[in-house]
């Protein structure tokens, strides 16, 4: 298997600090990335403010309002139990964004150190770790996540863990590739020559310089995690009823396609917007961090 990413050229730590405003300027010059960032900020704000801004209770049923089409009282309509779809879409953002944060946080905090050590140490341990990573990557991502979620049992927390574990090898492989590229740089050789201990070289010199592609990957992995959480919830392996998640809402909507099509539209639109925003932002970030793209 070929490594999917190219290593970014190494940048000395001091330059790295000076790069930050540059990256921000690059990002702000890309309208697509700026729109992506704005949508993300808006979604996070909605998720945080859900209890304050939702017009109804997300789980309270109302037999008087079963499967009502969109109206002034219920702009997105109501579902099969008379719950307000708009309210559930707002609350559902919590499951999706939490899944993205937990899964990516977990995958990065396990995968990055593994890749860092594997790449820096080299030798037999590197070979063994990378064969394991290859083995995990050979299992299609969602199938691995489904298998893990199946063995762990269906719940939102377990779905997040399953997605996080399934994403570990991507971070490990990417970080290792970065380390291999960065450790060949002259300033690493210099740091070694003046007698810096390994720990300091890894943490102070290699790690910060290998980070930019990891940040891009984290953005794209968040997009993948949101689709994966929605997929697992759609299959019934994630968020359990009556709590809302975009995927489980779509799962329910499947049974009412001809009677209540609006139930199928809005949760999907929400997933699509947030994932598109993350992808736009990730693409912009990649271009901004890659000096060759100018």
């Amino acid at each position: 298997m070929r490594s999917e990413t190219q290593a970014a050229p190494g940048i000395a730590p001091e330059v790295n600090a000076a790069l930050k405003p540059l990256v921000l300027r690059h990002l702000s010059r890309r309208p697509a990335a700026a729109i992506g960032a704005a949508v993300l900020v808006f979604s996070v704000a909605l998720a945080l403010a859900a209890p304050l801004i939702s017009p109804y209770d997300p789980v309270a049923t109302s037999w008087a309002a079963v499967r009502k089409p969109p109206s002034a009282a219920h702009p997105f309509g109501t579902d099969e139990l008379g719950r307000d779809v708009l309210t559930r879409v707002i609350w559902g953002s919590r499951a999706s964004l939490a899944a993205a944060a937990v899964a990516v946080g977990m995958a990065a905090s396990i995968g990055v150190p593994i890749g860092l050590l594997s790449g820096y140490m080299g030798g037999a341990s590197d070979a063994i770790i990378m064969r394991l990573v290859d083995a995990m990557l050979a299992i299609p991502f969602l199938i691995l996540a489904i298998a893990l979620a199946a063995f762990l049992g269906p719940s939102l927390t377990n779905a997040m863990i399953a997605i996080g574990i399934a994403q570990v090898p991507i971070f490990a492989r990417l970080m290792r590739g970065q380390v291999l590229a960065v450790r060949e740089e002259d300033y690493i050789e210099a740091a070694d020559a003046i007698g810096n201990p390994h720990r300091r070289i890894v943490l102070r010199h290699i790690f910060p310089n290998a980070m930019p592609p990891i940040l891009v990957q984290a953005t794209l992995a968040a997009a993948t995690a949101i689709i994966a959480e929605a997929s697992l919830s759609f299959l019934g392996l994630g968020q359990q009823p009556p709590n809302p998640s975009w995927g489980s809402m779509l799962n329910t909507a499947r049974s009412f396609m001809s009677q209540a099509p609006w139930m199928a539209v809005w949760p999907g639109m929400a997933i699509f917007s947030v994932v598109l925003a993350l992808n736009l932002f990730g693409d912009g970030l990649r271009d901004a961090l890659d000096p060759r793209s100018e």
Binding site: A135, M136, P140, L235
Partner: protein
């Protein structure tokens, strides 16, 4: 090249062994007693003891792994506890359905992705380029099960021209087979088309600035001939790898697509097995998808070398 190929093939064995170890460990090391899980509602101690014995759950873990692996090597992936049939038979039965779906999806992806990528590259920076690039990003961002539901809403519920679900085997009726698979193939092919478009575009941009393209133009060849004969031929080489690397995503996507359109394939087998706690089937399906992925990548690497003589070791 012979030695390289041999080494490449030889690596598949250890990788698969590790995959099997991972899959086995997944079930063994996670919390919960598999015997209780297998027993389901029936918590009769005699039944549980019987399950323990049948599935060797009373033996130490390494012995259990060895017993399981021995079976796998003989092509015996165990017995489905729900359907009471060998897992290998079930997979052999469902795999052709998914293979047909995946093949059609690949066709959709290539037919849309390659021309779109070429046009975007040739018209770099134009409105067309920006629209195609944005469309590709949308294609990558749309959850395929939702796209499937939207297509069902439009073509089945509103217009009533395509069946919303079900599957007819090609042996029974090829026309009905294709009518049931056209929406699923589009759904599954969309994200793939987007990926292929992005890679075709960037490969074309790279190739179009190469010296031999300038030479071809200087010779006075028509633009269409330069783009299609000289540039595209070389730009498609990396796309072969992209297709293989995305095969895993295609299988992942098939799981959801089959669920939305109720197609009795590999993915539906997996999901049903998960809900029936039919762990032998889950393990078997996972193992087979990894094997398929590794073989396809090997095939792609060989094709890559065959197409690009400069890379031969």
């Amino acid at each position: 090249m012979g030695a390289w190929l041999l080494r490449r093939v030889a690596l598949i064995g250890p990788t698969l062994l590790l995959v099997s170890l991972l899959i086995f460990a997944m079930q063994q090391l996670l919390p919960g007693d598999p015997a209780l899980a297998l027993a389901g509602e029936n918590q009769d101690p005699a039944v549980i003891a019987h399950i323990r014995q049948t599935y060797h759950l009373d033996r130490p873990i390494p012995v259990r792994y060895a017993l399981w692996l021995e079976g796998v090597l003989r092509g015996d992936l165990g017995q489905s506890i729900r359907i009471q049939r060998p897992v290998a038979d079930l997979i052999a039965e469902k795999l052709p359905v998914t293979a047909e779906l995946a093949g059609l999806a690949l066709l959709v992806a290539l037919v849309i992705g390659v021309p779109a990528g070429v046009i975007a590259a040739v018209k770099q920076g134009s409105v067309i380029d920006h629209s195609v690039t944005l469309a590709a990003l949308c294609g990558l961002s749309v959850p395929n099960f939702w796209l499937g539901m939207l297509l069902i809403l439009l073509f089945s519920v509103e217009l009533g021209i395509l069946p919303a679900s079900g599957y007819v085997s090609p042996g029974e009726s090829i026309t009905r087979n294709l009518t049931t698979l056209i929406m699923p193939a589009i759904v599954l092919g969309t994200a793939f088309a987007a990926g292929i478009m992005r890679h075709t575009r960037s490969a074309m941009l790279q190739v179009l600035s190469a010296d031999y393209i300038r030479l071809a133009r200087a010779k006075g060849l028509g633009e269409a001939r330069v783009v299609l004969r000289h540039a595209l031929h070389n730009a498609l080489i990396p796309v072969v790898t992209v297709v293989a690397l995305n095969f895993g995503a295609l299988l992942s996507g098939a799981v959801l697509t089959e669920q939305v359109f109720t197609i009795p394939g590999f993915g539906k087998l997996l999901v049903d097995a998960v809900f029936n706690r039919d762990y032998a089937v889950v393990q078997g399906v996972t193992m087979c998808s990894a094997l398929a992925y590794l073989l396809l990548n090997l095939g792609a690497d060989i094709a890559y070398l065959a197409l690009n003589p400069r890379l031969r070791p």
